[in-house]
């Protein structure tokens, strides 16, 4: 379970202070599928960075499965990212010149797991890319790269899957595939948080959180998920 209590984030640029989040309260239960929407600059990515333990709030508390992650050392944060979080980025963020299967293996490397090849293959199979194991990122289509990224996000069996505009760089068909995958993962019980600009994507979530100027504007649970169609 995820709890944000009065979380604020202020970026300091020289003398200027830029508030990116101001007093955000948010609770996400295990197994939820939440879409976070809002205009550009409203603080969505900042929120995700904090949820994903890539950054710590300037004030407020962030409880991840009961652990206060807002005051942890770099090292502890890295451990939490390794064990509990899976990231999916808009720009895929695969490690260049490293094959698909090795990219998927990487989180296991940092988690200190020795048997990596088989789980990585299995994860690639889950996203339908068994035939692309040895491909380099620049030999894959955008949709395929994002699927590799999803496989990589999944491999450590994280409790929380964070996707920052995962379909932002993809065409409609690939977007639908990716959303389908995320939906299926949520159906399998995983907590998924998707940041998006697209209403269609939001419509597919069970809960939509709308942000504006670093605050939560609305938090709405939808009755039913609309089916995505390619």
């Amino acid at each position: 379970m995820i709890q944000l209590e009065n979380v604020s984030k202020v970026y300091r640029m020289g003398k200027v202070e830029v508030p990116a989040l101001s007093g955000v309260d948010l609770t996400i239960d295990d197994g939820e599928l939440v879409a976070i929407m809002g205009p550009s600059g409203s603080g969505k990515t900042t929120l995700m960075n904090i949820l994903g333990c890539l950054d710590v709030p300037t004030s407020g508390r962030y409880l991840l499965d009961g652990t206060d992650a807002s005051r942890l050392s770099d090292n502890r944060l890295a451990k939490i990212r390794s064990r509990k979080i899976g990231f999916i980025f808009q720009s895929f963020n695969l490690v260049a010149r490293t094959s698909a299967v090795r990219n998927v293996e990487l989180p296991l490397v940092y988690a200190g797991v020795h048997a990596r090849r088989n789980p990585a293959r299995h994860a690639l199979a889950q996203v339908g890319l068994s035939d692309r194991e040895k491909f380099m990122p620049n030999e894959l289509s955008g949709g395929q790269q994002q699927r590799v990224a999803i496989a990589r996000a999944l491999i450590n069996d994280p409790t929380l899957l964070l996707a920052d505009e995962p379909t932002g760089n993809l065409d409609t068909a690939s977007s639908a595939e990716i959303l389908k995958l995320l939906g299926a993962l949520n159906d399998a019980g995983r907590t998924v948080v998707i940041i998006t600009h697209e209403e269609e994507v939001a419509g597919f979530a069970k809960r939509v959180v709308r942000m504006r100027d670093g605050r939560i504007e609305s938090d709405r649970v939808q009755r039913s998920r609309t089916e995505v169609t390619a």
Binding site: N49, G52, L54, D55, D74, N75, A78, K79, R81, S82, R83, F87, F89, N93, L94, V95, A96, R97, T98, L106, P107, V109, Y110, A111, G112, H114, R152, A153, N156
Partner: protein, 408 residues
């Protein structure tokens, strides 16, 4: 993260920029090879010179000489009695042998040729003492010394000039020296000029037939019992001769005592300093190589900022990133050092193969690679890897993940 994986990641990073990695390594390779080669050459020169001089290192030469004090004693001829005094066993137990010699230039001729040789009169020990060898025939013996035999042993230059290139051709022929006839009983091997232009005969033979009699000797060679006994033997020589020549002030002597050993020590000392100096100069290129590694590692970290962000996002700790870049620079510098050792040793071996082709002076010259120089230069390479990689790696490790991910 285990080491094996870290090494694999580092190697992949280096292979991704193959040319750049090789060029960076080149700096280390050249530095290490230069250090090893120069130290090897220094050692080679030292042992080659020492090998030639070592057998003579226990020799002390006494010649007449004016005293060191202005208006001091004039040089006094050395005579047989001086030799006899030094040969007295009771005088010194550091003296193994005393060999008098007298020498001078004289015309040496056959019916067809003539040659101005240095005629030396000495005892049968002369050959031994001068570390010589016979090319043909034999040296004169004690009996011939006692009997004042009219025999002569020629240096190779004299022999080949008078009798042709085959040393054996001179044997049993006679030569005229100072219009006196002597039978050639041996020809010596070359030791280099001027030692090759000599004609050696028994002391009294030379005195009687060439130098006009008397009991003078030009020099006395004293052989110390061993090289380390040279200083003691020198003291004994000075004591005995000062006594005989009735010299009170030892600074104002009428003879001079020289030994190769002290010169050899000085030579070795100078050579060692010279070797160290050239190695230090070579080490400058190693330092430049280190800056190259530092530079490339900084570039590599900057280039891969985004990759570092990704790795951190998926769970890499600071330490894992630090290790990745440290190992990368260690591999870069270590591999460079390893190849540099190979090149340095290879060139040294090549040098020792090619040196004899440069002439007889280099016949015994062989660059000698020393284990300490190899171990040290490899250790220095690794230290370079650690130091030059440490700062960039630390910078990479400290990157904040969100900023690294944002980096374009």
């Amino acid at each position: 993260m285990n080491l094996q994986e870290a090494v694999r990641i580092a190697l992949r990073g280096l292979r991704a920029n193959r040319l750049r990695s090789v060029l960076t390594m080149l700096g280390i390779i050249i530095g290490v090879a230069a250090v090893i080669l120069l130290v090897a050459i220094g050692n080679g020169v030292q042992s080659s010179v020492n090998e030639k001089i070592q057998p003579l290192a226990n020799l002390i030469t006494i010649v007449p000489s004016a005293g060191n004090v202005p208006g001091g004693a004039p040089p006094k001829d050395l005579v047989d009695a001086d030799v006899a005094a030094l040969q007295e066993p009771a005088m010194s137990h550091d003296i193994a042998a005393v060999i008098p010699a007298t020498s001078g230039k004289a015309l040496t001729e056959t019916d067809s040729y003539r040659f101005r040789a240095t005629v030396i009169g000495s005892t049968d020990r002369w050959l031994d003492l001068n570390n010589g060898d016979m090319a043909a025939g034999s040296f004169f013996d004690d009996a011939q010394v006692r009997s004042t035999a009219r025999v002569v042993v020629l240096g190779p230059s004299v022999a080949s000039y008078l009798f042709g290139n085959d040393p054996a051709a001179a044997l049993s022929h006679t030569v005229r020296i100072n219009r006196q006839t002597f039978r050639v009983i041996g020809v010596m091997q070359s030791v280099g000029e001027p030692g090759d232009s000599v004609a050696v005969m028994p002391l009294n033979t030379a005195r009687r037939y060439i130098f006009g009699g008397g009991d003078k000797v030009n020099q006395i060679i004293v052989q110390a019992s061993q090289a380390s006994a040279v200083p003691a033997a020198e003291d004994d020589v000075i004591r005995v001769l000062s006594d005989r020549h009735k010299i009170k002030d030892t600074a104002n002597r009428d003879f001079e005592v020289q030994s190769l050993r002290s010169r050899l020590d000085t030579f070795n000392q100078i050579l060692r300093i010279l070797t160290l100096f050239t190695a230090a100069v070579a080490a400058i290129s190693l330092f430049v190589g280190a800056i190259g590694v530092l530079n490339i590692m900084l570039v590599s970290v900057t280039e891969r900022t985004r990759e570092i962000g990704i790795r951190k996002a998926i769970g890499a700790t600071r330490r894992a990133i630090l290790e990745q870049f440290l190992i990368e620079s260690l591999v870069l510098a270590g591999l460079g050092g390893f190849i540099g050792i190979g090149v340095g040793v290879g060139l040294s071996i090549l040098g020792s193969i090619l040196a004899p082709a440069l002439g007889p002076t280099f016949a015994t010259f062989a660059p000698a690679v020393t284990i300490p120089s190899v171990v040290l230069s490899f250790a220095i390479s690794l230290v370079i890897g650690l130091v030059a990689g440490g700062y960039p790696a630390n910078r990479a490790a400290r990157l904040r993940p969100i900023e690294a991910l944002r980096y374009q």
